[in-house]
Amino acid sequence: MDVPIEKLELSIDERRIRNEVGRITQHPAVSPLREPLVTGNKSYSDVTNDINVIHEQGAGLGWWIALAISSSLLLIGLIAGYLTVTVGIGTWGLNRTVGWAFDITNFVFWIGIGHAGTFISAILYLFNQKWRTSINRSAEAMTLIAVMCAGIFPIIHMGRPWLFYWFLPYPNSRGSLWVNFRSPLLWDFFAISTYFTISLVFWYIGLLPDIATARDRARTKFRRKLYTILSLGWNGSNRTWSRYETVYGILAALATPLVLSVHSIVSFDFATSLIPGWHSTIFPPYFVAGAVFSGFAMVMTLMILVRKVMNLEDYITLDHFEKMCKVTLLTGSIVGLAYITELWTGFYSGNPNEIFMIINRVLGPYAWAYWIMFTFNALVPQLFWFKRFRRSIPLIFVLSIFINIGMWFERFVIIMISLHRDYLPSSWTYYLPTTVEAGLLIGSFGLFFTAFLIFLRLFPIIAASEVKGVLKYAKH
């Protein structure tokens, strides 16, 4: 072994450079137990292709059929909305006893659906849960659409929806008569508009690198123009990436308390009033857990369909569903605990109105709604204790729809049962929705699915740049 002496005696500078480069390029040890997040042994360009092909290729027959159905539902909603605005709130089944009904039920339901998107995109990001990368994009889109669906209901409930901007504290010609900052309904307005804005920004920032990819690949003139404008001149520079990651972290850190605040404030609409069954301090955590619960159910429903129709089994794997089922189990159990706690605190209060409300809730005219809610939300998710059920796509699909129904009924139960038998027995009533109200609910689902279908055709539905970042998750 004759090694030249000059190769053995590296200069101090050379040794320093080698050590430094070695330190920067070394990989941390990885547990061999780690399962890959993306299956199918994909390369980076496979990821680009798989994801971009979905929105580039012509829409299949299935998409058109789905769009036809969902836009028909939307049309029903538009007709119902037209009747509401032109004729008035009298077209609804509301009356003096039941002042809030279907509209606020739908509002709380849709706001809750939105929470899972922010949970996945912000909270799981802060906890470094890398599996979120395959589902965060579509979950965030779902959030935005759900918040839009939610926003419609309080606005049309105002009776004069064209004056909804009176909610803003702007100097006006009425003396400047200011808005009432002590009202939870005004807090709602600020919470939801902030939530929508921040969610939109968060979603768009996440989309930027993927829009740039779509821009580079665009073949039609329309798409090239659209993506050139929307990509804002993104060029993948690491100086930009560095700032981008900082801002992404800031937005995640802001969105986390924000999402908790939104449903807490929605729950204040009820909790700050003196209605039995509403006036309760457990409402904020109970509502937030319920929101994440219902949101995850909706994410699972949508993802099962998207994964199947778009052939994304390698990206949205069974492990994803298993993890989402665990979140659903946890939040569902919190919700179940809250139901039982409500019954207990009602009895323990010693307040005859509270005790009556509890009995009326469990055994009264709307007991059917209560037991649908209890079964679907507190009992059904307990099946997810078993691994076999957490990994069975058909079962998850059915259960997620049950949970969606159950969570809609939760809001119906809270609102309706407390209102329909108030302090004055002569004004007791049994509320039933009119066709117009049912039409609005159907229409909101139409809007939700129509907007989601358009999103599928316009943007990369999986965060390709983030998936590329976790491609080697189990390999190093």
């Binding site: 680009t48 600020f190 929307l230 690491n238 900082t246 801002v247």
Partner: protein, 178 residues
Amino acid sequence: MRNTNNELQRYTAAYFSNEDDLKGSTAEARLRGFTIHDVFSPFPVHGMDEAMGLKPSRITWAAFAGGLAGLVTAVVLQIWTSAYDWALNIGGKPFNTPLLFVPVSFELTVLFSGLTSVIVLFYLSGLNPFSKRKSLPGVNDDKFVLVLDHSGASFRKEAADEIFSKYNAEKVVEGDLV
């Protein structure tokens, strides 16, 4: 890729097929005294900032300032409108009720802070809808590019080529970029 003096400058761009080679070559080039114009990748590469010698971004301070502005705006707006400009008696409650101003103050803090950090990001990185900036080929797909600046006195072609081949560069392109 901002160039303030608008002169044509010579650059050498080396294309790599994976992030490890990019990171290694960038760190090595920087430590050997090359001026790194920029590095391009399809996703944020962990540890790249250190390899490039970038300092942590100060956008967090902008976010803090934005949040503070939002908080002050909300507190002043609510107290002034509710207790001073036209105080309304609502349910016999006091006019100045700071506890009830917490939710809106929180929301505006978050809103201002989030929007400020995004606007600062757009400004610093030159991101805007009218931008004519294009990516280097493949950067948004699967290519990792290190761009070295010739303008520094330190640029030595042979040394650069040695680094590129050590880290398996797929191709090396020389050119003028504005």
